[in-house]
Amino acid sequence: MVPKELSEEMLPPQITTPGDLNRLIRELDNLDEYLRQAALRSSQEPSNLPQTSKALEELAALNSLQLLKPDDRKIFKDLLSKIKQQAPTIHFGFATAPSLTFLSKLVSWLRINVHPQILIKVGLEPSIIGGCIVRTTNKQFDFSLRKHFVAQHSVLVKSLSGMEETPQP
C-alpha cells in the first residue's frame, strides 16, 4: 500500500488518543462560547482570549481556518465532530507506559501508512515484557516478546541442551 500524502485531513501528531480529540473539542467550545458572549457584550474584538493549545492551533492552521471567525469555528467544530465520529481507533497494549514522543512517532507512522486520522488507545500489560499487542476492530495482533518466546520454544530447548552438553569450565 502506497503511503498517503500529507493532506489537510491528517491530524497533527499531538493528537493521538480520543481523549486528545475530546480535549480539542472542549477547547474549541470554550473559545467559541467566550467569543460569542464577548460579541454579545461588545462590538469590539476581545483582547484577552482564552489560552488555546498548540495542537488546536496547528490543526486549525493545517485546515486554513481562523479561530476568531465564527464561520471558521463552526466549520472547525463540524470537522472535529466528523473526525470524532469517523476516525478509526486502534488499541495498543504496552508493558510500560509510553512517552509522548514514542506515541507521536507511532501515531505518525500509523497516519502515514494506515489511516490519516487514526487514533490510538493505550493500555498496560506488564506480562508481555516488551513489544505490544495491537487490537483493531475485529483482530488482535500479538507483537509481544512473550509471543516471540513461545514461537522460539524449540530454539530455547536446543540452546539449553547445548549448554547442558558443553558445561562451562
Binding site: 500500500m1 486502534i90 507511532l106 494506515v114 489511516h115 506488564p126 515484557i129 495491537v134 483493531t136 520454544h153
Partner: protein, 201 residues
C-alpha cells in the same frame, strides 16, 4: 612324717615310764634269807635313795624335754616344709585352674567374637542389600522426577522465561528502544490492519 614323729615321742615316753616303774617295783625273786637280804635292802635303799631318784627323775625330765624339743624342732621344720609344699601345691593348682579357666574364657570370648562377627556380617549384608534396593528405588524416583521436571520445564519454558524476564527487567525495558521493532511488526502486518480498519464495523 608327723605321725612317725608323734609315734616316736610316744614310744620314748612309754619307755621312760616303764623304766621308772620297773626301777621302783623290782621284785626280789630270790628269797635271801637273813642279813644278806636285809643288807641288800639296806644297800638298795642306800644307793637308790630319794636324792638318787630325784636325780634320775631330773635326768629323765631333761632327756624327755630334749627329745620333745628335738621332735618339736623336727616337727617345726617338717611343718615349714609341709607348708611350703602346700603353698607350692596350692599355687600350682590355682595356676592350673586359672589357666584352664582363662583358656575356657578365651575360647568363650573367641566364640562370642565369632558369633558377633557373623551377626555383623549378616547385618552388613542385609544392609547392603537394602541399601542397593533403596538406591535403585531412589535413582528411579530421581530419574522419573527429573524427567517430569524437564518435561514440565520444556512445556512451560516460554512462560518460565517470560516470568523470569519480567521479574528480572520488569519495567526497565525502554519502549523507545523497541519502536523500530514494533514498527517492523506493524509494517509486516500493515495490510491486514488496514483491511480490518477499512472493513470495520
Amino acid at each position: 612324717m608327723i605321725i612317725v614323729i608323734i609315734g616316736a615321742l610316744v614310744v620314748v615316753a612309754i619307755a621312760i615310764v616303764w623304766y621308772i616303774l620297773t626301777s621302783k617295783k623290782k621284785p626280789t625273786k630270790h628269797a635271801i634269807k637273813g642279813t644278806y637280804e636285809d643288807q641288800a635292802k639296806s644297800d638298795v635303799e642306800h644307793i637308790f635313795n630319794d636324792d638318787f631318784r630325784q636325780e634320775l627323775r631330773n635326768r629323765g625330765r631333761l632327756y624327755f624335754e630334749k627329745i620333745i624339743n628335738e621332735n618339736a624342732t623336727f616337727l617345726q621344720q617338717d611343718l615349714r616344709q609341709t607348708t611350703s609344699q602346700l603353698n607350692e601345691y596350692i599355687k600350682k593348682e590355682i595356676t592350673e585352674k586359672l589357666g584352664e579357666e582363662f583358656i575356657k574364657y578365651e575360647q568363650t570370648m573367641r566364640d562370642a567374637n565369632q558369633i558377633a562377627l557373623e551377626s555383623i556380617n549378616k547385618t552388613n549384608a542385609t544392609l547392603e542389600t537394602e541399601t542397593q534396593a533403596l538406591s535403585a528405588q531412589l535413582r528411579e524416583q530421581f530419574s522419573n522426577e527429573k524427567a517430569r521436571l524437564i518435561k514440565r520445564f520444556e512445556e512451560n519454558m516460554a512462560e518460565i522465561v517470560n516470568y523470569y524476564v519480567v521479574s528480572a527487567v520488569g519495567s526497565q525495558v525502554d519502549l523507545n528502544d523497541q519502536l523500530s521493532f514494533i514498527i517492523g511488526d506493524l509494517q509486516a502486518n500493515k495490510d491486514e490492519i488496514v483491511k480490518d480498519i477499512n472493513n470495520g464495523a
